[in-house]
Amino acid sequence: MSAIALKVNGRDHTVEVDPATPLLYVLGDELQLRGPKFGCGLGQCGACTVLMDGRAVRSCITPVSAVGRSEIVTLEGLGTPEKPHPIQQAFIDEQAAQCGFCLSGVVLTAKAFLDHNPKATPAEIHQALSGVLCRCFVHTRMWRAINRYAQARHV
């Protein structure tokens, strides 16, 4: 057990955990955040995705000790139901969910990629989401939402 300092969604936290603990467990169990979810624990599906200094990472395979001074943002750190982030608003407008469990992976992976590659081609955006799963298969709506956000960034 060690005391580990983390900056999550703009707030400083100190947690007392084994440094090998996956970041996901710290976010979910210690900080009681709901955005990142346990999907596979193997980094294969994306449900646990968080932003680490603006890059999408899979928190289920990221030891908390690897975070260091990086800033973590989870799905709830982007916006709130009252004041959603534009990409969240796009998902709301397109009704792009069924169970909604996968949304951290879809929303944050797309956001991080588009923020770093604002001129990405559709093929490149598709490639960026080739490791993200939605098992309710809301794909058509999710792509409409992602494209809406991508176009808004272009303007």
């Binding site: 982030h85 809301v138 058509t140 792509w143």
Partner: protein, 770 residues
């Protein structure tokens, strides 16, 4: 906080769906300690109006439903139903779903039954309409005006001339003390103002911003973490558990063993995971599994339980006499629910009381199962539905609820259990059933189908636990309960009436039993025999169970007959159908897709270029629970065997549509999930164990695949009963895609999934004349 975590506390903390419970005072009489309305806990009498609807003094309407929302939109549309029937605004309705202490027992939320049960003459619809009728009667007495002179708007009853009274004034906070009126009149669809509208799902903002509380997010004071240790191979039993192997591990609270159930509890999740990994368990080996490669032959040799769906007794003769007889066998593998999240549950078992937060689709049956496992009176167990990752039937939600109950019982503290991905895929869920379906048909001189003969084999083991079979899911069996197995039996002649609940019969037969015909088609010479054999793996109702498998075979075989008759696939289907609703969806889909008859198949002779084709398929789901037609357009890369779907056009008729936005979401999701199942999904195993245990070995189409265009036509049919919509379109996807591949290439795919290797094999096996 008290052990039982009171109902009000739960409501306050249960996330965005149920916030700021302003009717809390009303709810006091419903507190857990006394049971709702002071009755015996398990007696929330579904015949009493107060079991379903309560109106508070401030006019807030609380409704209680036994059909829950796990992503299919039932929360929003049931709220619309209450608002419509009571003529109140949506925002005054508070819907409470699936909590055994307060909602009526409506069994399992499954089988496309929520709409038929709660949106026609019974269930929640009957309750809401009865409440409106009761309120009008009360207002009539209060205002001294006959009921037929009253109107309702926004929860206020008006008699004109300034005379009015609100619902709150009429019953606020008091019981109705009435029975449901089985003959109550619902508001007809033509007069709907809230139902029938594309109301956006209430949960979307909370989901998109991470505020929504899933069962994975439930936190209780003092909660600790459990993990399970499942057997290494199918059929293994515990020989010895070496607790010394984990002694002294940080945070470890207990190793729990019950017969073949093994689990650990630790203070933190990471500690529990490590202890589960390190715990040394010696297992007695299980048996050898039937080889996957020859599995379809294997199941045809097993002792079976046979049922004739229909037998016109003349099929053998017609086949013998016919100039043309076609015969094909279709194969469908085990498939997984493969929920995006490995299942999780939280249990708080202390003394003789247990509370569970569970994503089970069956709160009351799960309550019974937990009571059996723990030896508690059933009324001492409360199961509160809390959404998990999307479930399409029977994922590991039930079994992980048992896991949590057993572990919490052992440590007498609240325990959260998170399954691993492998636990979920190999030792958690109940798989969709593998099938072999043999089709035979006789064509007459004109190419029309003169007789249809179908014998199918499906595999079963366990299933939904129901109220008294906890062994039907894995944890129940490990803890010592027997799963339900197939008892072989010879079939008797069909009796009673024609039932096509599993779509064992194609839509094209008349379905005549005991002189009454219930089929959707015109083929009078018909013989449908279903055989069920024991499965080596747990099976359960995966979205469109057996209906999908059977429809894949029937609709592809219909295409084979059509190709042999050199007919147009749409016209040929219409020629053999009698039911106006399945005809209606076929025509609607064809019109939307601009279907034009042309040479079929239009098989490409270019072996390497991508070949394009279109395929059609339709179904009368469960015989009469919704109608769907689908046209698929695909491209086949003939050098790689890769299939790409380009466009789907679906038409669905599910009677009066309560929320078109919700139906469209189900249609679209069903089509793409069906595509993933058709192209890549297959459970695999070796001699001893399941080998598809992660997303590396169980292949789901990711977000980044080339998503086809999906168009849906909703055939609103208010003159009929409302039917299910969630399983409609997925049922016809594999068939439509298989038929499109045939149209494109002349290669017939008879085994799901259509992997590149199988497509290439089918291409190689093409009749050079085709």
């Amino acid at each position: 906080m008290s052990t039982s975590f009171s109902r009000r506390d739960f409501l306050k903390t249960s996330g965005a769906l149920i916030v700021s419970f302003s009717a809390a005072s009303l709810l006091e009489p419903l507190a857990l300690a006394q049971g709702p309305f002071g009755t015996h806990l398990s007696h929330i009498d579904p015949g009493k109006l107060d079991s379903w609807i309560a109106v508070a003094a401030d006019g807030m309407v609380t409704a209680y439903t036994g059909k829950c929302d796990f992503g299919q939109g039932m929360f929003t549309v049931q709220t619309q139903l209450i608002a419509e029937e009571l003529r109140v605004p949506l925002h005054v309705v508070r819907l409470i779903q699936c909590d055994t202490s307060i909602t009526p027992d409506e069994g399992t939320t499954s089988g496309s039954q929520s709409t038929p049960v709660n949106f026609n003459a019974g269930g929640l619809a009957q309750a809401a309409a009865t409440a409106r009728e009761a309120l009008l009667n009360l207002a009539s007495r209060r205002l001294r005006v006959p009921v037929d002179k009253l109107s309702i708007k926004d929860g206020v009853v008006t008699a004109g001339a300034g005379k009015q009274v609100s619902y709150g004034e009429l019953v606020g906070g008091k019981r109705f003390n009435l029975s449901l009126n089985p003959n109550v009149k619902r508001i007809p669809p033509q007069q709907w103002t809230v139902l029938g509208k594309a109301i956006p799902s209430f949960d979307i903002a909370a989901l998109a911003t991470g505020e929504f509380e899933f069962v994975h997010n439930v936190h209780l004071p003092g909660m600790v973490h459990g993990r399970v240790v499942r057997p290494p191979t199918v059929g293994s039993t515990v020989a010895n558990v070496d607790e010394d192997s984990v002694r002294g591990m940080p945070g470890l609270i207990k190793v729990v063993v019950r017969k073949n159930f093994v689990g650990v509890v630790a203070e933190k999740q990471w500690q529990a995971q490590q202890a589960a990994r390190k715990l040394k368990v010696t297992w007695n080996p299980g048996g050898v599994l039937p080889a996957q490669q020859s599995f379809y032959e294997y199941i045809r040799k097993q002792p079976s339980r046979d049922v004739f769906i229909v037998d016109s007794q003349d099929v053998q003769r017609k086949l013998a006499d016919a100039s043309t007889v076609l015969r094909s066998t279709y194969f469908h593998p085990y498939q997984m629910h493969g929920s995006i999240g490995a299942s999780c549950a939280v249990a708080d078992v202390r003394g003789d009381k247990a509370t569970l937060w569970s994503s089970t689709q069956s709160v009351y049956p799960t309550r019974s199962g937990v009571a059996m496992l723990l030896g508690l009176p059933v009324d001492n167990v409360r199961v509160i539905f809390t959404r998990g990752a999307g479930c399409y039937g029977l994922n590991a939600a039930d079994t992980v609820s048992y896991d949590a109950a057993l572990l919490s019982h052992a440590v007498q503290r609240p325990v959260r259990v998170q399954l691993s991905r492998k636990d979920e895929m190999a030792w958690g869920e109940n798989y969709g059933q593998a099938c072999v379906i043999e089709e035979r048909a006789a064509l007459d001189a004109h190419g029309s189908v003169a007789a249809w003969d179908c014998e199918s084999w499906s595999v079963s083991f366990g299933g939904r636990p129901g109220y008294d079979h906890p062994g039907n899911v894995i944890t129940g069996m490990l803890a010592g309960y027997q799963p339900q197995i197939v008892v072989p039996a010879r079939s008797s002649e069909p009796a009673g009436e024609f039932r096509n609940g599993h779509n064992l019969a194609p839509s094209y037969v008349t379905g005549c039993v005991s002189g009454k015909c219930g089929g959707a088609g015109k083929i009078r010479s018909e013989r449908i025999l279903a055989r069920n054999v024991t499965s080596p793996f747990f099976t359960g109702p995966l979205r469109s169970p057996l209906r999908l498998q059977n429809t894949f075979a029937h609709e592809c075989f219909m295409d084979e007959l059509c190709a042999h008759a050199k007919a147009d696939p749409l016209a040929y289907r219409l020629q053999h159908l009698a039911d106006e609703r399945i005809i209606g969806v076929l025509k609607a889909a064809a019109q939307a897709a601009k279907w034009e008859p042309r040479r079929f198949p239009q098989a490409s002779r270019e072996q390497t270029s991508p070949a394009a084709g279109r395929g059609i398929a339709c179904v009368a789901y469960e015989g009469d629970n919704g109608y769907a037609a689908l046209i698929a357009e695909v491209e086949v890369d003939q050098s790689t065997g890769q299939v790409r779907a380009r466009r789907f056009v679906a038409a669905a008729d599910c009677g009066p549509i309560s929320n078109p936005a919700g139906v469209r979401n189900q249609i679209e999701g069903g089509i793409l999930q069906g595509l993933s199942r058709a192209l890549g999904e297959e459970v695999t195993w070796d001699e001893h164990q399941i080998t598809s245990t992660s997303w590396a070995t169980y292949h789901s189409l990711p977000l980044g695949f080339e998503v086809p265009a999906v168009e849906s036509v909703l055939v609103n049919n208010p003159g009929w009963k409302a039917t299910g919509a969630g399983e409609l379109t997925i049922t016809v996807v594999a068939a439509a895609v298989g038929n499109a591949i045939f149209d494109a290439t002349g290669a017939r795919l008879r085994e799901v999934p259509f992997t590149p290797a199988r497509v290439k094999a089918a291409l190689a096996a093409r009749n050079p004349q085709s």
